[in-house]
């Protein structure tokens, strides 16, 4: 559900699409720096991680300076997925 919603955002690309993976989604948005996105989501009370996540060789492999990453756990709700989606859309609008 989250994957579907995020993939529908124009310019958003998911990094790491293995079939069996844990509940983290790393992504980049064309023309937007991950830190800017992180700062704006933070203002909305949404905590994501940004940067190279201490995996510089992997980022080098993808040819990107870093990603934004949302991590989900058992306590997260569907409503929070909607808030993340809305938050990203708002941030993209502000930054473009």
């Amino acid at each position: 559900m989250l994957l579907k919603k995020l993939s529908a955002i124009p310019g958003l690309k998911i990094k790491g699409t293995a079939k069996e993976k844990v509940s983290v989604i790393s992504f980049v948005i064309e023309g937007i720096h991950h830190q800017d996105l992180g700062i704006l989501l933070d203002q909305e009370g949404i905590a994501i991680r940004t940067g190279h996540h201490c995996t510089q060789p992997l980022m080098g492999h993808f040819g990107i300076p870093g990603t934004a990453r949302a991590s989900f756990a058992v306590y997260n709700t569907f409503e929070e997925i909607d808030r993340l989606e809305a938050g990203i859309k708002k941030a993209v609008k502000m930054l473009k």
């Binding site: 720096h33 830190q35 203002q43 940004t50 502000m94």
Partner: protein
């Protein structure tokens, strides 16, 4: 530029006044983004490894020079909000005697509610940039004194 005639403290007060017009966080950040996009382009010849201030998340390039015994800064960043914050620091510190910059307290960032971007735990290059701006001012101050 008229800002050159004002003191570091006066320019900081002016920025605090500008930001006091915004009630909501998104207005404040929209203004920062606008400032970031408007920051004077740093000549690519200055975007070298040597002038790069490394951060974990975003990068900042800083160039400083002395003109008529006053210090001037130029800077750039790959993240636009950081660039907006950088442009504020450039505006506050440029066009003053190096000694004034070296001794200046920076409190406007706290007053406009953006202090979290300058906390040492945020490894975004901004703290290092502020430190480098001061170091450059100290270096130019020493240069001016040696000429006297």
């Amino acid at each position: 530029m008229s800002s050159a005639e004002k003191t570091v403290k006066e320019i900081q007060n002016q920025i605090v006044e500008e930001f006091s017009l915004f009630d909501e966080w998104d207005e404040k950040y929209a203004y920062l983004i606008e400032l970031g996009k408007k920051l004077e382009i740093l000549d690519p010849s200055h975007k070298t490894e040597e002038k790069k201030i490394k951060g974990c998340q975003s990068q900042v390039w800083l160039n400083s020079y002395l003109k008529d015994d006053k210090i001037y800064y130029q800077a750039d960043s790959d993240a636009v909000i950081v660039k907006g914050l950088v442009s504020l620091l450039v505006r506050v510190f440029s066009g003053h005697p190096p000694a004034e910059v070296a001794q200046a307290d920076i409190d406007f960032i706290d007053e406009i509610g953006l202090k979290q971007h300058l906390s040492p735990t945020r490894s975004n290059g901004l703290v290092s940039m502020l430190k480098q701006m001061k170091l450059d001012a100290v270096a130019f101050q020493a240069l001016l004194q040696s000429k006297q």
